[in-house]
Amino acid sequence: MTESQESNSGATPLLEARGLTKDYGDTRALDSLDLAIAPGEVYCLLGPNGAGKTTTINLFLGFVAPSAGQALVSGLDVSTHDRESKRRLAYIPEQVMLYRNLSGIENLEYFAALGGQGSLGRKRLIEILGEAGLDAEAAGRRVSTYSKGMRQKVGIAIAIAKEADALLLDEPTSGLDPTASSEFSALVERLRNRGVAVLMATHDLFRAKDTGTRVGIMHYGRLVTELSTAEIGHADLERIYLEHVSDNGGRR
């Protein structure tokens, strides 16, 4: 357990799932998930496609309604406090899609204002984009000229500008080259150090071990095991993961 974790272990969780369940017809996409993420924690959800990682994130965002249980953000039930919970959340999807005909600055200005930050001013916007790793020249260009990594940086900038309590990341490094992935992890680390609670769904075991403070392995909608990254090595994580997601150790 890291120092940051130790200091926050008693704090009120910023992201919490209580028996969170989601059914799509006869299919149970998420089954009684219990989860609590404290300030300064990076919780990585691992699991194969269809394990329920994105469903979990969508439930925290209020994009889908739970069939049972609760998703709470800073203690607020997402189902009944949609706007208040979203004020405290930032979200970076697998593909950060922005308005292609607008510049990075204009996109940031718009989403920051939607997030409740009002008008930040061009200088501050460029500062935030710089903090996210995008230089001023690139920030002024149309997004249609951006690489995926640059769009992810704008996504991070939107999260920084929002000054959110919690950050939801849905496979954010998928498709990024190692350098961009590493830069991204560094940005997440910085947010973590500011006390932001991070929930990251990912397939990248290396990144999960490297960036996360805890990992949870999901399979067929259930959280099958939870580990502290401080207590395991990369090889251990891969072995444990494969043990849990193989079909004979899967559906229960």
């Binding site: 969508n58 965002l61 209020g62 994009f63 889908v64 949609d82 706007r83 208040e84 979203k86 004020r87 959340l89 930032a90 979200y91 999807p93 593909q95 950060v96 899609m97 922005l98 308005y99 292609r100 005909n101 607008l102 204009e106 718009y110 989403f111 204002a113 939607l114 997030g115 409740g116 149309r142 996504g155 939107i158 939801l168």
Partner: protein
């Protein structure tokens, strides 16, 4: 979220979207062309009205001069056109042209003004056949497809522009991925979609109303603020219907291509197919009698009347004792016999015209009953009424001309029957046509029905859109 945030972003997106700017520019050009067409037609009508007004003055002046000359001992210019004869003074050479001035907003909507007569030469021979003829020679293509005026552009093209601007207002955001990022912010899809559509509505309404007001300003239409308000309200309500429909379709969560197909289909049905089907049904169920029937009836009645003039005169005097003062039925003059024949022909024509009018009334009733199915028909009716070029104003004008023709006959026929001669002193007493044009309040009252129905449709579709948008989440 402030409305300003979304509106500002929409402005940026519009400014960065070249094809959309070109489409808007093209629409402005089309509106300008439509307005020019309207102004050209208005100037033509004004010229015609001026010519007919001058004609009235010149004819009256010429007759007065000739009558005074005859009274001073001169001779008539022609023995067959002696102005002292009431058949001449009240006939075609002394006729008075009743004119309907162009509607206050004719430049915006030509409407029925190129199809229905806006002036009639009234004399003692004016009868029902006179009301079924248009004195203008018109380009048949114009009559077939209607003129390209602002009302046409609003009813037919404006929905297409609105659909082009809004068919993908949410579906594109969903497809390009910005919807999820947007809805992860503390905003509701309904609010964002409404503001995005509101921006587009402001752009569209700004363009259409701007061109309309420009047209009204250039042609003196500002003298009728009530009509301009009615025009503007109709444009806004009709636009809102299409925006609401686009919002509803977007709320269904389907692809942009699907939205476009459904919305263009809706345009085709509501703007083209339904109005055409309703008109076709009206013509099929209540066909108008052929105009040839009226010509034939006139010819047959004329032949019959000439052969039975004495008998007809006796019947006429029996039916119209008020006209018979001083008439000796046993020794009727040529004028009296002739008038009896004319009246018999008129009577037969009235029978044919009554049948025509009854069928037309049935057609109108059918169209009015089913117009609620098409917002295009409702908007067109309100726009033409606002412009003063709708059916109702022409029907009112025709009704006043009929009454005027009756007064004209009442003035001249007793003198014809009595075989009297007239002189210059009667000229000031000859009836003159004065149009009692409809008041703005009449127009508003009449247009309230289609506008209320249109408003109802807007509310209905908006409610559907509101419910649908309320269900939109980031992970549809």
């Amino acid at each position: 979220m402030t409305a300003r945030t979304v509106l500002k972003n929409e402005w940026r997106l519009l400014m960065a979207d070249r094809p959309l700017k070109i489409a808007l520019g093209l629409f402005v050009v089309l509106l300008g062309y439509a307005l020019t067409n309207g102004v050209v037609w208005l100037r033509f009508q004004e010229h015609t009205v001026e010519a007919t007004t001058n004609g009235n003055v010149e004819r009256a002046s010429a007759l007065q001069q000739e009558l005074e000359a005859i009274e001073a001992g001169g001779q008539p210019s022609s023995p067959f056109a002696d102005p002292r004869s009431p058949r001449v003074l009240g006939g075609p050479s002394g006729s008075h042209t009743a004119v309907l001035a162009p509607g206050p907003l004719t430049a915006l909507a030509i409407g029925q003004s190129d199809l229905l007569p806006y002036y009639y030469d009234v004399n003692i021979y004016t009868n029902e056949s006179s009301f079924h003829q248009n004195g203008e020679v018109e380009n048949p293509l114009n009559l077939m497809v209607g003129r390209f005026d602002l009302a046409f552009a609003v009813v037919y093209l404006l929905p297409l522009l609105i659909l082009a601007l809004s068919f993908n207002v949410l579906s594109e955001e969903r497809e390009q991925g910005t919807l999820a990022l947007t809805l992860s912010q503390p905003v509701a899809a309904r609010s964002v979609a409404t503001l995005k559509l509101a921006f587009r509505a402001l752009v569209v309404a700004g363009i259409v109303l701007g061109v309309s007001l420009l047209g009204a300003l250039a042609t003196g239409g500002f003298g009728s603020p009530g009509r301009i308000l009615l025009w503007s309200v109709t444009v806004v309500a009709y636009s809102l219907f299409w925006f609401a429909l686009a919002a509803w379709v977007n709320a269904l969560g389907r692809s942009s291509a699907w939205n476009a197909t459904v919305l263009v289909g809706a345009w085709l049905v509501l703007v083209v197919v339904l109005p055409a089907a309703i008109n076709a049904a009206a013509g099929l169920l209540h066909p108008l009698p052929s105009r040839v029937e009226m010509v034939t009836a006139q010819r047959e009645a004329s032949n019959d009347a000439v052969n039975r003039r004495s008998e007809l005169l006796a019947r006429y005097l029996e039916d119209h004792p008020e006209m018979a003062e001083g008439v000796v039925a046993d020794e009727p003059g040529l004028g009296a016999l002739s008038w009896a024949a004319t009246d018999a022909v008129n009577g037969r024509l009235e029978e044919v015209a009554a049948e025509h009018d009854a069928r037309r009334a049935e057609q109108t009733a059918l169209v009015r009953r089913y117009r609620v199915l098409s917002p295009a028909l409702l908007a067109q009716e309100a726009l033409l009424d606002a412009a003063g070029t709708g059916d109702a104003r022409f029907a009112d004008f025709q009704s006043q001309v009929r009454a005027f023709a009756e007064r004209w006959r009442e003035f001249f026929v007793p003198a014809i029957l009595a075989d009297e001669q007239m002189n210059a002193s009667v000229l000031p007493n000859v009836p003159r046509f004065g149009l009692a044009d409809e008041e703005s309040s009449d127009v508003v009252r009449r247009a309230a029905v289609p506008l209320a129905v249109l408003g109802g449709l807007v509310l209905l579709v908006s409610a559907g859109a509101g419910v649908g948008l309320g269900r939109v989440r980031g992970a549809d």
